[in-house]
Amino acid sequence: MPDKAALLGVIENAATIITPYWPLKTFIATNPLAGLEEKGFETAIESGKSIHGGNGLPTRAMLKGARDKGLIDLDIVRRIGREQNSAAAEILTYPDQNDHAFEAVKSSTSALDTQMIKWLSAFLDEGQAGTAMPYREDGFYSAFTKLAAHDNVLNKNSAFKETLKNTPAKPLAALSNMLAAYSDDEKQAIIETHLTALPGWSGYVKWRSQQSQDPWQAAYPITLAAYIAVRFLIADALNIDISAKTAPVSAPSDNEAPLIWLKAWEETYRETLTAQIEQNIKDNAPQKGQASDTPSAQFIFCIDVRSEVFRRYLERTGNYETYGFAGFFGIPVSYSPFGTDHVVASCPVLLQPRHHVNETAHESHKGEAKKIGAHDKQRLNWKSFFGSLKNNVASPFALVETSGIGFGGRMIGRTLLPSLTSKADAHNDNHGHDAITPCTAHDDAGNGISLEDQIFYAEAGLRVMGLTENFAPLVVLTGHGGETVNNPYASGLDCGACGGNHGGANAKIMAQVYNNPQVRKGLAERGLNIPDDTYFVAALHNTTTDTLRLFNHDKIAAHQPDVLASVLKDLETTRLNASGERAKAMGIQTNNKSDSGICKKVETRAKDWAQVRPEWGLARNAAFIVGNRRITKGLDLEGRTFLHSYNWQDDKDGTALEIILTAPMVVAQWINSQYYFSTVDNNKYGSGSKVTHNVTGKIGVMQGNGSDLMTGLPLQSLMRDDNTLYHEPLRLMCVVHAPMERVSMLIERNEILQTLFNGDWVALTVIDPVESCTMRYRNGGHWDIIGADKQALHPSPQKAEKIAV
């Protein structure tokens, strides 16, 4: 039977073309062309066009809008045009020809797709359907073969019942028969065509088939082989030839002009940013012999672009240092929220959780915790009871008769007075309760984290972000999360580094680790001395309302009584300022000129169940900056930059930089690509308007009653109105403050970096503190000094070796 095994390999190869799609509960940003990344950007967008029919470049209308706002420097357009020997006049007038920027999303029209969607949405439902599909426990293929004879679309074909009877019991065996006449390459091409017909659904099946631990996958398994085998059986019933090419094919496009304009748009932003940082480095250079002042508190934020705004205002209020680090704080962990056995994987999707932590009641708050637990249980029971009444065939009429008035009142309240009603409804985020604490200690059941591992993660975190000395009396680990109601994309506003969850749980875990005296002792043995009076505390940054909630005030007061009051006051000032900036960005009109009026308006958005845009999320993201905060401190980066702290002097062998570039930067590029492609072609790569979204199976959204799963971002997350972009579709720029030779060495030994930098997915700029110059990486390992003195540099092997030792 090696042919079936070979078929598995062929399916795996074919599936590289589709991007896994995470379900809504952990909405993870991905590049819709991730499977084509190795081809490089320009080839990938062409392939994307022929495979998905998607447009990979900004439209003329977008370019025109950006040019008219002054976001594209015309001199740079001319310069790039000259470099590429293009006809200047034609290039310059390109945006002025008419085209339609946005069309309504078309739902899938092929009969085969329609039938697939019907069967997939029934099988993959996670509790939204009132009546579950039978035989799901046998797996997708088996359930289909048992039920399909009753499908009155498929059984119109009189031979179909016979086909079902004769088809092998297992999907691989069935596929093996169906594809027997084709070579391996032909098989792969056919499978690719069928996977890319509905890339959202097949992407979801790809994700789910790899989650053996997922309770839904464990109970109702589905594989890509089953997906394809069912699709081929349906094709047979509908008399569709499986080898017919169904994907859209288009002639190669002339991308010259839009590419030049895209590059000019990017360069306009990048050159300004580079100049700002260079100037800032000069302005903030430490004076010789100047002792560094110990800050009152240090705040460690997620690298998320939304942190930048808060950090900027917080630093202005007092003697605070802020750091940027991936918001899971380096601990690959899953946890069970207090009072539940539900498991939340709270780490980046690039990692598998290696430890499990349970939350428990804090000794001093047992009574309070008991109440929270009882309330949660009551809420969940009531929710499930109400859900079953609502979805049951018989009970909805009686339900409306008996409780309609109450629910009608609540509906009116939620509509007219969202902030008041939602207070009564308050989303129960237990991590906010001081009564709940994680059990980080290793127990006999294997839960918790061993002391050795605690020391390892504690050290890794501090060294990667370059916080190795001059600890403040208070160090705040700030997780983050969004706040929104009635929003299927809620987890998209939460922390990506925590797998699309609020980051408070990880912050609590790591604060406990850093306060553990045995961990401190272990760190001291490794040369990291945290003063005894330094206290770590967890906090949660609400990215929708600009509030930063410090946990466990009583403990802070016990350890650092002097610091607490001033920190709380400064956090309030920061909130007012950050909300003021937000109000401008969101166009929030406020007649009330008082600061609290603005905050109230901002807060209302978070609680309004009709609000399609509670916040802008990561829109306008454009750069990832790796370096000490000194290089960007004081700059207004407009919430567009991911900021990762890094101290090049503490990382001689490049270990920390390798971690930063191969993980946080990769994730930033996924986010950036999702925003980019969702913007340039919202029909194909985004998810269309929220107004016509239809949540299916609790896993994803469709447009209308049957479409592909829409995997990208909705229009409302990207655009101010039907014709005005808010997000600027720019590819990611990565700025690294480190010696160029160290960066070169890391590119040389990491394929992922070669793919991203050589393929023009990410533009790399290095500000070299040793050579005192700024360089741009070019395809193939060449470096151009940016500025007047343009010359190519090549890393000297001797120097690179020295760094590597």
Binding site: G9, G139, I222
Partner: protein
């Protein structure tokens, strides 16, 4: 000591990127391997240069080694599944003769590709 009987079997060692872990587990399972050993974060030198053992926050791009012992036909199925994979992806496999004492631990009753029904 003379009572010990050695049974001849084959051993396969496979090194791939971490993002192929789910595929490898599935392939070994479906080909009928009764178990396997997995070593995460292996380091070494190959066509694309030296590869560091551990990318702390990225399991997908770290290298991972699978090792399993089975009868020849099971190993052949595994190789059949890996052959198309290695045409498009980097990775290596090594097959060697080996012996075991407790044969029942390494051999499945049914001679079939142990395909899951899903």
């Amino acid at each position: 000591m003379s009572n010990i009987v050695f049974h001849d079997l084959k051993k396969i060692e496979i090194i791939v990127h971490g993002d192929k872990k789910a595929f490898l587990k599935d392939l070994l399972d479906q080909a009928g391997a009764t178990g396997y050993t997995m070593i995460r974060d292996v380091a070494g030198m190959g066509h694309s240069g030296f590869h560091e053992g551990r990318l702390l926050f990225n399991d997908n791009k770290s290298l991972i080694m699978f090792m399993t012992v089975a009868e020849q036909d099971t190993i052949e199925k595994i190789i059949a599944g890996l052959t198309p994979l290695f045409e498009k992806n980097s990775g290596v496999m090594f097959v060697s003769d080996t012996s075991v004492v407790r044969l029942e631990k390494f051999v499945q009753d049914d001679d079939y590709i142990n395909e899951t029904a899903s």
